[in-house]
Symmetry: C2
Subunit: 210 residues, 2 copies
């Protein structure tokens, strides 16, 4: 959680000795700050302005809107993955671990709401359904790994299921998240409990057989 960098300079020309020119990190930092403040529908031009710079610079350093979305998604995923890891760490009971994971997810969602919407929405426009999927890609492989070991997958057949499961879990959390952000009809703890129940016991619930 670094202090957002102030825009450095708006003046063309080669930078003098002490100056640091605008770079990719600066642009993304400013983009994030603006999205937090203004919401998920900000334009590339607005992001550029926030960085004290114009559009082609954003294009030059980061590489177009998709790249901005992907860059921010990456940072966001890193943070959330860290938080999730910390939350889950050391829990022996798998159900408790899942619950902690879900809770960490919802916590991150509340903290980074606008950013999350920007990143999953492909930046408010231009969205193939591909953009949200690219967001999922960044965490799917890692999650699949965890799921496989949680489930104790040994056979090749079992392990092959892990990847679609990971996308499934991500999609489930994502949709519930969007719905919850809109309705806000229950507490985070309640929702986490309900999701954990579904994730852990499935639709079968606590029935014994089959």
């Amino acid at each position: 959680m670094s202090m957002p960098l102030e825009p450095r300079r708006r003046r063309p020309g080669r930078p003098s000795a002490g100056e640091t020119p605008v770079d990719r990190a600066t642009v993304l930092e400013c983009a994030e700050r603006l999205i937090r403040r203004e919401g998920p529908t900000v334009s590339l031009e607005a992001i550029a302005a926030e960085a004290g710079v114009t559009k082609p610079i954003v294009y030059h350093h980061v590489g177009g809107k998709d790249a901005v979305v992907e860059g921010l998604a990456w940072r966001l995923n890193e943070r959330h993955a860290d938080a999730a890891r910390d939350a889950v760490a050391g829990r022996r009971d798998p159900a408790a671990a899942i619950r902690a994971f879900v809770d960490a997810y919802l916590d991150g969602l509340e903290r980074d709401r606008n950013l999350y919407l920007y990143v999953t929405g492909g930046g408010g426009s231009g969205g193939d359904p591909e953009s949200v999927l690219r967001f999922a890609d960044q965490s799917a492989a890692g999650l699949a790994e965890r799921l496989a070991q949680l489930r104790g997958a040994r056979t090749k057949k079992q392990r092959a299921a892990a990847l679609p499961w990971a996308y499934g879990v991500i999609g489930m959390l994502h949709f519930v998240a969007l719905w919850w952000l809109r309705t806000a009809d229950r507490s985070r703890a309640e929702l986490a409990e309900q999701l954990t129940d579904l994730l852990w016991t499935g639709l079968r619930g606590n029935r014994s057989s089959r």
Copy 2:
């Protein structure tokens, strides 16, 4: 599955006695046909042209891009819901019912691929994350009902979980669908099997307790 109506007329002026003017259903029919043929990124203008008409007409009869998406989503959902109901009908074993449901979903996805992408992607642009959620809204309530009875939810607390579960299931299927459309690395039957496993037994799998 009606025969797509041919474009009626491109001429302004009040229609003569026998003529039927362009209406909402015609526009949506042509939109669907075009999307099937050209893919999910078609523009409103292209849709209008397919209907032998211009943009303001689409706006007049249907009401803007969001309304087109919503209208098509509605039709698609109806068809898929019917198919799912038929597939599930009469199955006693809940796991088999879920499997049939998942399989019907994947079948519909393959049949209506472009349309599905258009509708869930908010039409290739302009998308809040809200648009995909509005698509989910159309089936969430009904699905929640089924899930509640499948799980045998009695208490108020249990029933309160049904709605987020429904969104969760929809989101799970949706994400897996997008991923599967892209990778296409396994058969539909395999994927249905894997998804059914996750949905029915959850991450717990077949462990006995907790």
